[in-house]
């Protein structure tokens, strides 16, 4: 499949819409691979070390600064990349998976871990296989903190026994185990029971990350995944009818490998990808093709993306997606040629639009269906942000030229008419950004 500059509709459906700064670019046969340099240094180990030091010293200002700077740098970089990518399919995939393996900066400690999470755990693993991506996500400090895995200790572990000697009771926390099964892999109807959740939670005990040690300045390993055998629940577990009697890390790893290749997981992932790239209620044939590819390629994600790219359903005009606030925001900025945006502005805009970056209310992430976003208030908010954005970033081109360049064949006569008749350039561009063409993809 060759994606060329002229393919406005493709870029709209698979990417983030044509960008005024990227009207011409080289043909691309593998748009799911990174289009631009995506390196990002969050200075992660030192940041974690500084955070814990500040926490220990109860230095609230310092904590606040670390959280704000790290999250701010991250969202500015995230937006910058999404604006710079000529097509944006790879970027969209990053954001899709980041939302699939959702964390939320609602939890303070997650805020400064979020940038590294999306860049090193998600972004660098979306072109491998599903198991790799799953492992990178669930072993990252952001996820371990967000879903309380750091608090889960095997009731029959060495650590629990020691605690009991001191009169303290520590035990299981099922949060991560449950969400891996329900949200990340098998899906809510994936055929597991509450007992399976508990058994899986036992197997996961010991999952932790390396924290800064006292009296050392070498933080190079800080933040890395750490399996702590002393926390791990002793003995075998029975999960979905099979016994796992491996010792230590091999036990949860065997379960994770099993669920990562399970048909229910294949169906769950296939459905979510099809929903994201085709329709809220995706055509069954597309879901089947994706599911079979997942199962026959051992969850090779690039193969899944190839299926999407080659599926006529994804380009069929009868299927459209109502843009999420993020989608709408990014495609709108691209349309008027914005290259970079200050973190404060991004945050304010996303807050107004109702989808702060990596801040969903629950581990299931942000919804990916029209009914979640197409509300009267949302339309008004988009009108509001449009006005502000065009006032701030007025491109030199005429609104009609921009409309034609960005929407190509998909530009309707009505929108062209309204845009060309608007009273001012500002009004014309703001109207273009909230036009039906730009509200959906």
């Amino acid at each position: 499949m060759i994606i060329n500059t002229q393919d406005t509709n493709f870029i709209k459906r698979f990417g983030y819409g044509k960008g005024l700064n990227n009207l011409n670019f080289a043909n691309n046969t593998k748009p799911y691979l990174p289009e631009i340099d995506e390196s990002y240094s969050s200075d992660f180990p030192n940041m974690i070390a500084n955070y814990f030091a500040a926490q220990k010293a109860n230095d609230k200002d310092k904590i606040g600064e670390i959280v704000k700077t790290s999250y701010g740098n991250f969202i500015a970089k995230r937006v910058g990349l999404a604006l710079a990518a000529p097509i944006g399919f790879h970027e969209r995939l990053v954001h899709f998976w980041s939302n699939h393996f959702a964390i939320s900066v609602d939890k303070r400690v997650v805020t400064f871990l979020a940038g590294d999470y999306e860049f090193s755990a998600i972004r660098h693993n979306i072109n491998g296989n599903f198991y790799q991506l799953l492992m990178a996500a669930i072993t990252h400090p952001a996820m371990l903190e967000y879903l309380d895995q750091e608090k889960s200790i095997g009731p029959d572990s060495i650590a629990a026994a020691r605690a009991a000697d001191k009169g303290k009771k520590i035990g299981l926390n099922e949060n991560l185990a449950r969400e891996i099964l329900e949200l990340h892999t098998l899906g809510v109807d994936g055929g597991y029971s509450q007992k399976d959740v508990t058994e899986f939670a036992k197997a996961l005990t010991g999952f932790a990350y390396i924290k800064p040690k006292q009296d050392t300045t070498d933080f190079s390993n800080v933040g890395k995944f750490n399996f702590i055998p002393q926390w791990h629940q002793k003995g075998s577990v029975v999960f979905m009818g099979r016994e796992y009697s491996q010792n230590g890390y091999n036990q949860p790893d065997a379960i994770l490998k099993y669920i990562a290749s399970h048909p229910a997981t294949a169906k769950h992932i296939a459905t979510k990808l099809a929903r994201h790239f085709c329709a809220d209620d995706p055509p069954q044939a597309l879901v089947e093709r994706l599911k079979n590819t997942f199962l026959t390629t051992n969850g090779d994600l690039n193969q899944m993306y190839e299926v999407l790219l080659n599926s006529p359903e994804c380009m069929d005009a009868k299927y459209t997606k109502f843009k999420t606030p993020w989608d709408w925001f990014i495609s709108s900025l691209r349309a008027i040629g914005v290259e970079n945006l200050d973190a404060r502005l991004i945050n304010r805009a996303m807050k107004t639009l109702g989808q702060e970056i990596l801040k969903p209310e629950a581990p299931k992430g942000y919804d990916d269906i029209q009914s979640a976003w197409a509300a009267p208030d949302a339309i008004e908010k988009r009108a509001e942000i449009s006005s502000l954005m065009v006032a701030k970033f007025m491109p030199p081109a005429t609104p009609v030229d921009i409309a034609k360049a960005i929407f190509g064949d998909t530009l309707s006569e009505n929108t062209l008419k309204i845009v060309s008749r608007a009273e001012s350039k500002q009004s014309a561009l703001a109207l273009l950004l909230i036009s039906p063409e730009n509200m959906r993809r």
Partner: protein
């Protein structure tokens, strides 16, 4: 009714700008006569405002939605007035209100935006030229060059735009977003039922959020009267009202809108005091609505509607209507009230008689692009 929709900038929860923002545009003309044009943007339903009770087809076409006897006040010739219009009803009794029915501009299609543009330009086609008929009217009147024009909105509506100097008044505590944007969003979504409906709902919601619409309407009336009373103040004003596009829940929405426009008129009259005797107010909409109810307790875009002429100099207490009837065969395109009166004919008559200019001259100067062949005369004292 909402007098302009400027209440949408509430940026990021920070600046917190909201609330009703009026839009009155004034033109200064050296005369003691006051002329006020109130546009009802969105196509007001003439059949439920000046209600043809004598036409039995009204009841069958509107079904459950048809106004009940206790929702109207009988006027003359079988027509009744919507009960929400108490001040206007009193004006009728005092012979200071005339209603013209089955009236329309030359426009025969059903786009709000184009229709409003035509009604404001006094043109035959949308965007035929840039200057509006109210601006051309100023050219016919003696100008008082010493008086600065006044602004109340940041943008000037099309009816007032043109070569003659017009400004607008605008309260400083409220920041206006692009009026133009707001006005055009509905037409932007006219082929997109989902977005159109969401936008309408948003407009309703922001009304609720902006507090007391009724108080706002009264406030606008007071401001208008105050400005028109000022010794060197403007003598021509235009007010914009919206919310008339009642595709659904017409009964409640229309009632609400009518109460507000009635309060607005009441305040203008009270505020003008003695000057009311020198004042003429024309209320008009871009087109009417379907004769039949639609499936959502509302009505869709139609053709003819009604207009009102109010004021101390009006030969009122009359309904001027050449009624074609609401039987299927008599409807325009089998769906709308058949237009029998010409909007430009009414305006030519009213303005000519108000300012002592030959109505034909008014028609030739203001409405040359679509000159009315039926000028309504004898409407002013």
């Amino acid at each position: 009714m909402k007098i302009q929709r400027r209440d949408f900038i509430k940026y990021a929860g920070g600046l917190g700008l909201s609330g009703f923002i009026p839009s009155i545009s004034f033109a200064n003309a050296a005369t003691e006569t006051r002329f006020i044009f109130i546009i009802q943007r969105g196509a007001a339903d003439g059949l439920d405002i000046i209600n043809p009770r004598f036409d039995k087809n009204y009841f069958s076409l509107r079904g459950d939605m048809a106004l009940k006897d206790d929702e109207v006040t009988m006027l003359d010739n079988g027509f009744a007035l919507h009960n929400s219009l108490t001040n206007i009803g009193q004006l009728y009794k005092d012979k200071q209100a005339a209603f013209i029915h089955a009236i329309a501009t030359p426009y025969r299609e059903r786009s709000h935006f184009d229709a409003q543009n035509i009604l404001e330009l006094g043109s035959g086609r949308a965007y035929e030229f840039n200057a509006g008929w109210m601006n051309r009217l100023m050219g016919l009147l003696p100008q008082n060059k010493s008086t600065e024009a006044i602004a109340i909105s940041e943008t000037i509506p099309a009816a007032l735009r043109g070569n003659n100097k017009v400004t607008s008044y605008y309260p400083s505590n409220i920041k206006a977003p692009s009026d133009d944007l707001m006005v055009r969003v509905a037409s932007l979504y006219e082929n997109d039922p989902l977005l159109y409906d969401l936008w309408l709902q948003a407009q309703q919601t922001s009304k609720l959020a902006t507090g007391d619409e009724m108080e706002n309407a009264k406030e606008i009336g007071k401001i208008t009267a105050k400005l028109l009373n000022a010794p060197n103040g403007p003598r021509i004003a235009m007010l914009e009202t919206t919310g008339w596009d009642t595709h659904s829940a017409q009964t409640a929405r229309l009632k609400n809108n009518l109460k507000q426009i009635d309060a607005l008129v009441g305040q203008i009259k009270d505020g003008l005091g003695d000057n009311w005797s020198n004042t003429v107010v024309v209320v008009a909409t871009e087109f009417g609505r379907t004769a039949a109810a639609n499936g959502t307790q509302g009505t869709d875009h139609g053709t003819a509607s009604c207009a009102m002429v109010l004021g101390g100099k009006v030969k009122g207490g009359r309904i001027i209507a050449d009624w074609a009837g609401l039987s299927q065969a008599n409807l325009y395109q089998n769906r709308d009230l058949m237009p029998t009166a010409q909007m430009y004919g009414l305006l030519s008559g009213v303005l000519g008689e108000t300012y002592g200019i030959e109505p034909e001259k008014v028609a030739a100067n203001l409405f040359a692009a679509a000159k009315p062949d039926k000028i309504i005369k004898g409407i002013m004292i």
